[in-house]
């Protein structure tokens, strides 16, 4: 895209962002926030799955811990600011991942997937047992959404939906930006190397377990941010929404449908699922059935997901207009 087109794109995007909450109303603003939360959650899973080759069937552990961490922090600590609340949730997730990392980095493949299934079930049961902390099935609620104090000027009350919209989306976008940057670094290359050939990575002199551990903590922390925002958005954190089986299954589906090999894939997937949910649930409550069918169809016919489809279309469009140069260097965030 040429420079002018790029500028136009960005300006349009910012304008859309600025006017959206007032123009589209609360209902759709909430959908966008939910979608953004799931997009971040799915991208965090994809750090493990698409970029390092590790599938987890229990990524809900970090989402739920982020949600509970934030909710409990807001309940027990007065005057906590928005960013501190997010940090609290994310930190809880990262701490948990540091505890599990030594065990988890020693396995891959099916064992890695199953061990996380076990941990997720574990957390589910523990959350139910420790009712006094987690509120059991009823969950933690009634905590206030914090405010943001801009130094020297006004107080932003985040109970205003529009303000909450701007701040929460910004937080999520910033986190995504950070992760996108990490993919572009030398460390990002080692990540994908580990996915393709861990033995070779080891023989080049890299310590595979350490690499996996760092990716693991990053994935946990960003899932924690997603959980934290979700907690504040919903105003309630209950066991099923934190550690339930679907919370682990959905991001996997989003990643596969969106495209595991691309950074933006899971974001496309989240948007796709948002539409799906809106339109399918109007006709039937058999949502999981539809999800299953969609997943099967995508894996069989479009294994590279929506991102793969978009890439093919872009390729076709560019060659038709003779804009494609055969030896073009692939960008490091796609297809690596």
């Amino acid at each position: 895209m040429n420079k002018n087109a790029r500028w136009a794109f960005w300006i349009a995007g910012i304008l859309l962002f600025a006017f959206f909450p007032k123009a589209a109303g609360i209902y759709y603003s909430n959908i966008v926030i939910s979608t953004a939360v799931w997009a971040l959650f799915a991208v965090s899973l994809n750090l493990l799955l698409g970029f390092t080759g590790l599938l987890s069937f229990g990524h809900a552990i970090y989402f739920g811990t982020g949600a509970y961490g934030t909710a409990l922090a807001l309940t027990h600590v007065d005057g906590l600011s928005f960013f501190s609340a997010i940090a609290a949730g994310s930190l809880c997730s990262m701490l948990l991942s540091l505890v599990l990392a030594p065990v988890v980095v020693r396995v891959s493949g099916t064992a890695f997937a199953m061990i996380h299934l076990a941990f997720a079930q574990c957390m589910f049961v523990l959350a139910l047992k420790f009712r006094n902390i987690t509120g059991g099935e009823d969950g933690v609620s009634g905590f206030s959404i914090p405010e943001i104090r801009i130094p020297g000027s006004r107080l932003l009350e985040l109970t205003d939906p529009a303000l909450f919209f701007y701040v929460s989306i910004s937080t999520i976008v910033l986190t995504l930006l950070f992760l996108w940057f990490v993919i572009q670094t030398p460390f990002g290359q080692i990540m994908v190397g580990t996915r393709d050939n861990p033995k070779r990575v080891e023989y080049l002199g890299f310590h595979v377990s350490h690499t996996k551990a760092v990716v693991y903590v990053l994935a946990a922390g960003s899932a924690g941010v997603a959980g934290a925002v979700s907690a504040m958005h919903q105003g309630l954190v209950a066991v099923n929404d934190a550690y339930g089986m679907m919370i682990s299954v959905l991001p996997i589906m989003i990643v596969m449908v969106g495209g595991a090999r691309s950074f933006f894939g899971p974001i496309y997937g989240a948007v796709f699922f948002a539409f799906l949910e809106e339109y399918v649930t109007a006709y039937t409550d058999k949502f999981e059935l539809i999800l299953g069918i969609v997943l099967i169809v995508f894996i069989m016919y479009w294994p590279l997901g929506l991102a793969g489809i978009f890439l093919k279309l872009k390729f076709k469009w560019l060659t038709r207009r003779r804009l494609f140069r055969p030896s073009g260097q692939r960008k490091t965030d796609e297809y690596s």
């Binding site: 599938l55 199953m114 941990f119 079930q121 058999k286 069918i293 997943l295 099967i296 069989m300």
Partner: protein, 292 residues
């Protein structure tokens, strides 16, 4: 016998019956995993599907025996269809893709049964001949539970004979250990895969029809025994039938007795134990390393 011992023995029988059904369910899963390297997440779905088919057959024909004969076969048929048309195509994309595909099929089955049969629990009554109690050594036992144990043992014996006394069985065992080598020897491995998939799913189907009268047919049936099945194959070892048998029995007895003996955190402990086993020996406690 005094009442306490009687209670323990009776619970023991229940435990063994549950354990044997669990073994039927888990052995198919572990065979498929050991041979094809695929953890079939839809396996418990087929188990449940057979229970539903069994219910339906009883509704149509009134005969439990017809259900027991036909339902597992139909469920196995669906399993083979999945393997032929879905899994095979996805095989080239790697084991993670296969795993996620089976997850998709699992979702379809779990929700799909609700579409056809609704969400409530459906009863499946054992035949007249198997109802009631029988007295052995002065102790009453439910006939049906004894029947389950007998049926499972029968299937086990047939399987063992097939695996260890026939040429086909030898091929299957070899394929479980090293599929690539077997292929190199000129044996039609895809057909062997299909066979094992079919038989493994059939056994799960038998388990489904067998346990249905006790647990009732409901959409939650798959997950009820599903977790236990995973524990069995992980602790028992991927591909190890003997390990699966041992652990299934232990699981069955434990679940029967745990209300008295084990503390509240038994569920958590089991999961942690499973996680530890996976970390230390990723191929399961009694499993062999999969030859690449």
């Amino acid at each position: 016998m005094d009442p306490t011992t009687a209670m323990y023995v009776s619970q023991g029988v229940h435990g063994i019956a549950y354990g044997m059904v669990l073994f039927l369910l888990a052995s198919g899963l572990t065979l498929i995993l050991g041979m094809m390297g695929i953890l079939n997440l839809a396996h418990t779905g087929f188990f449940m599907l057979a229970a539903y088919f069994g219910y339906q057959m009883v509704q149509w024909t009134g005969s439990y025996w017809a259900a027991l004969a036909a339902a597992p076969v139909i469920a196995a048929g669906f399993g083979v269809l999945m393997e032929r048309f879905l899994l095979k195509k996805v095989h080239a994309y790697g084991p993670m893709a296969e795993l996620i595909l089976t997850m998709g099929v699992s979702l379809v089955i779990l929700d799909g049964v609700k579409v056809v049969w609704g969400s409530q629990s459906l009863p499946l009554a054992p035949p007249e001949s198997l109802q009631g109690l029988i007295h052995v050594l002065g102790m009453p036992y439910p006939v049906y539970r004894l029947f389950i144990i007998g049926l499972s043992l029968l299937v086990l014996v047939i399987m063992a004979w097939l695996l260890y006394r026939t040429r086909l069985g030898m091929i299957v065992r070899a394929a479980v250990s090293d599929a690539q080598m077997v292929d190199a020897l000129g044996i039609n491995v895809p057909v062997v895969f299909m066979l094992v998939f079919g038989i493994g799913t059939w056994m799960a189907g038998v388990a489904g029809v067998a346990i249905a009268p006790i647990l009732t047919v409901s959409p939650g049936l798959a997950n009820q025994m599903g977790m236990d099945a995973f524990i069995v194959i992980i602790v028992g070892g991927f591909g190890s039938i003997g390990g699966a048998f041992l652990v299934s029995l232990i699981c069955g007895l434990l679940s029967s007795y745990r209300i008295q003996f084990l503390p509240q955190y038994s569920a958590v402990l089991i999961f942690i134990f499973m996680a530890v086993v996976l970390a230390v020996k990723p191929e399961g406690l009694f499993g062999e390393k999969h030859h690449e």
